[in-house]
């Protein structure tokens, strides 16, 4: 690491180097059959961990970063996401 002038960080979004997935105790699991591709989980995730490239594939959770907060599961209107214990 080098100290940059003025403590300026020139690479936007470089926080992705910090994989926060190790934080969680529970992990969200999405039942893609129940999922209606509404996109609410994508919108609300505090950590921008869920992406949806297209409706066919549906939402994808990036477990490198997911902190297991459970908001996606709690807010899914179709109860398509369940929180299961993280295996140690």
């Amino acid at each position: 690491m080098k100290v940059n002038t003025g403590a300026t960080v020139t690479e936007p979004g470089s926080s992705v180097k910090n994989k926060t997935g190790g934080w969680r105790n529970m992990r969200p699991v999405t039942d893609l059959a129940r999922c209606k591709r509404c996109g609410i989980c994508v919108i609300l995730c505090p950590d921008a961990v869920i992406s949806m490239k297209n409706k066919e594939e549906g939402p994808r959770t990036d477990y490198d970063y997911c902190k297991g907060c459970g908001i996606c599961a709690n807010e899914c209107p179709f109860k398509a996401i369940s929180m299961v214990a993280e295996e140690k």
């Binding site: 940059n4 936007p12 926080s15 505090p46």
Partner: protein, 294 residues
Amino acid sequence: MNEESLFAPGHTACAGCGAAIALRLLLAAAGKNTIVTQATGCMEVVSTGYPNTAWKVPYIHVAFENAAAVASGIDAALKAKGMRAGKNIIAIGGDGGTYDIGFQALSGMLERGHDVLYVCYDNEAYMNTGIQRSSSTPYGASTTTSPPGKFSIGEDTVKKPLAEIVAAHRPSYVATASVGYYMDFQNKVKKALSKKGPSFILVYAPCPTGWRTPSEKSVEIAKLAVDTGYLILWEMENGDRNTLKVTKMPPKPRKPVIEFLKVQGRFRHLIDKPDEVKRIQEFVDAECRRYGIE
């Protein structure tokens, strides 16, 4: 991960952070032609740990009380260079950095009429420094500097009506919002950014750590605040009080406020005090009446 999000993963906000949701929603509505100034606080600390940053828009953090003043300088500089058009300037502060220490700079920015949107993410205490009360902390809430005790009910003053004080400055746009109603919030952001002049949005952002609530309930509680009338979502345009309108009516009948209080650890000590709950319900009822909510 969601590569489009202008607030990237890898930040160190608590799991379930309401403020992080607010930031994501805000940036999604504002788009990448946005310059952000931010006050010291949770969101600043978790997102800019050197050498990394979660921000994918130009961003500047200076100090605790001056996000609005820094934004004023950016507005002036872009205007001086003839480069103001086509960009948003958004100043962001928590309730601590806005209601209290940042109040003066906010008032100055509004009065001078800068083309800046100020967004305050409100989790009702100084969370980053360990859950101390702010003037946003509601009556009865437990914080580390307003703990309940033999001679204390918790916070003994009512929440400062900041959005109303901002409205008195007659800005281009002022609104309250909640991460519980994300479309209402994002519509308000877009509306604010479409107008010239200063604007302000107060967005309610639950803090599972400070409120002692389950991390998965942050959005749900932000909805419950509105559905009990505890939080009123309104907007006012062009400094004209006649345009004031409630944008999200609670369900009829309105849920009793105890529904909101009982799911939060910070209000737990009130639950067995019906007089206090009644006092809070009366306050909520009075505010709802003022806004034409049944």
